[in-house]
């Protein structure tokens, strides 16, 4: 925020709409091209932009900066415009004020992605984007604040977890300034002195800046920055992942160690990364075929359901449970099994992020330039061949070069996990940290080796929906 130009931009009240508007236009183009354009995924903007460029840029921006995609979220621009006409009346139901619904939706998205091969269908991709817009309108049309962002949005939850490893964070510059503040604008909003009407809203995700720790639940919306009358909130740099080492009480969240729903989100994030990549390599079809024969299944859904249950429930429970038991027995840790599993799950997040980076980065980098011929073709189909004949031979970086980058991402993730697990182990067992460290590091090693094996498997992408 102190950087000339950039700081002025982010402090400007209309910075967010300025960033959201182009993405909204792109989203509309994607929906239209997905519904009315070529039915073939490599020739359609909906599939090309969603499954190559959006996913790839998302993880790279999270790695290098922070949750700037939530800042520029086009769904929120539509919601904010709609709120000029519709006033939400209800508070988000108390029993749903946790991450369980969004964890479920995250799993549903991963499952339907595999079951319906969304990556191959411009039609269904367009519908997914549309459904997202409609869901935002309905949820935030009925419920106050940023209920959709905090409790529903699967992409948001992915971003929240990944941004715990980002190098930037929205935070207070000087706690002494906050200690002297009595108006609490960052959360209550800037209000008119007489009428007490809110003129600049505060944080809609219930993150009180002086007690906010880390990036979890922060959409980088900058409402707090704009509301603070002392210019005491900014986007500050930090050491990535440090927020996973400590367990203070966090405004709007509580203690990480007491949030089983957050731990479940971290499990889906980490184990789901491997599962999502597994869905695109040859062995998965052999596994589905074998399950079909053994269990006499005529359809893909039950076999896929079994694979999902194994990777997202059974495998984590067994691995994390075993590590927790070893930590109790060997390191003499007095915590219960479940609290230990919850505590150390966060240590696996860097590994999971490394796998998401490797997977999405692969598709992004190998298909980097494909947006050019697809755009050329889209314009030509409208009778505007402004960019010339589509150059379909343009793709991206060679796969063997990208594979080296993938290995780098996996190494980075593994190192990050080891560092965080060791930090937690020292905190738990200062006299014998290695005894607390080794069981969890072993789990990390197993997952890392599985990730390495995955990236060397031949890709085999089979789709059920090949025409629309």
């Amino acid at each position: 925020m102190r950087i000339p130009g950039l700081g002025h931009l982010f402090r400007w009240h209309y910075a967010r709409p300025l960033l959201q508007a182009p993405l909204l236009i792109v989203s509309v183009v994607m929906i239209l091209h997905g519904l009315f354009g070529p039915a073939l995924a490599p020739k359609n903007l909906a599939t090309t932009l969603s499954w190559l460029h959006f996913r790839g840029l998302l993880v790279l921006v999270l790695l290098c900066a922070g949750n700037f995609f939530c800042l520029a979220c086009p769904f929120m621009l539509v919601r904010q415009t709609a709120r000029r006409f519709f006033t939400p009346r209800f508070d988000w139901p108390r029993p749903l004020r946790n991450k369980w619904l969004s964890v479920g939706l995250f799993v549903v998205i991963l499952f339907t992605y595999e079951l319906f091969d969304l990556w191959s269908s411009p039609w269904w991709t367009a519908w997914l984007i549309l459904a997202y817009f409609l869901t935002v309108l309905v949820v935030d049309g009925f419920f106050k604040h940023a209920s959709f962002c905090k409790f529903v949005c699967p992409i948001g939850q992915f971003n929240f977890v990944a941004s715990t490893l980002s190098p930037f964070e929205v935070k207070v510059r000087d706690q002494d300034v906050c200690a002297r503040c009595h108006t609490l604008d960052c959360i209550r909003g800037r209000r008119e002195p007489v009428s007490d009407l809110v003129v600049i809203r505060g944080c809609e995700l219930a993150l009180f800046q002086p007690r906010k720790v880390g990036n979890m639940d922060c959409t980088f919306c900058l409402d707090c920055v704009h509301a603070c009358p002392h210019d005491n909130v900014g986007i500050l740099s930090r050491l990535p992942g440090t927020e996973l080492l400590t367990d203070p009480i966090r405004s709007g969240i509580g203690y990480f160690s007491r949030r089983k729903d957050l731990a479940a989100l971290a499990v889906v994030f980490t184990f789901g990364a491997l599962l999502n990549a597994f869905g695109m390599v040859s062995p998965v079809y052999a596994l589905e075929s074998w399950l079909g024969k053994v269990l006499h299944l005529g359809r893909e859904a039950p076999a896929l359901g079994i694979i999902f249950a194994f990777f997202l429930i059974l495998e984590p429970v067994v691995l994390l449970g075993l590590a927790a038991w070893l930590t109790r027995v060997w390191a003499g840790n007095q915590r219960g099994l479940l609290p230990l599993m919850v505590r150390y799950t966060y240590g696996l997040v860097p590994l999971g992020f490394g796998m998401w980076l490797a997977h999405y980065g692969f598709h992004f980098l190998t298909g980097l330039y494909t947006i050019i011929p697809v755009t050329q073709s889209a314009l030509a189909s409208l009778g505007w061949p402004l960019l010339g004949e589509p150059r379909w031979t343009l793709t991206g970086l060679p796969a063997n070069v990208v594979q080296v980058i993938e290995i780098g991402f996996l190494l980075l993730g593994f190192s990050g996990s080891l560092a965080i697990i060791y930090g937690l182990a020292i905190d738990d067992s200062p006299r014998q940290p290695m005894r607390a460290f080794i069981p969890w590091a072993a789990i990390g090693l197993v997952l890392w080796m599985a990730s390495l094996w995955l990236i060397f498997q031949p890709m085999e992408m089979r789709a059920t929906l090949m025409s629309g």
Partner: protein, 145 residues
Amino acid sequence: MSIPFRRSRRSVCLLPKDCRTLLALACTATWFVASCSRPADSTPEITIEHEISPAPARIGPVLITLRLSDRAAKAISGAHIALEADMSHAGMSPVFGEAKESEPGRYQAHVTFGMAGDWIILLHVILPGGQKLGRQIEVRGVQPN
């Protein structure tokens, strides 16, 4: 102090008016978009049969044999057929080829499948009279070597 609750005889709508309007708009938009569809093929009278060798297809070069015939099952000679093979996932490079006529109505082309999985072969056909038509052939489950 407890306040007695009296059940009203009037039906009570739980949703405020603007929320109902929002819901109605969302449903209308959904119905409108769901009604959209793509146009059908306009040249059904031309039949194109195909064979792919080896079968089942594997990664590497394959020979595609096409037979064009009209409604009376008469072979169509002198057509120009360009092939484009795409995978079902965005980001994969397409493969191009051109078919040569080996006998009247029988055309052959070589393409190389670079990856296992599902492919679609697009046929861009220009008939002897200049009429253009497009067809696609789905090649499912190309095997790894």
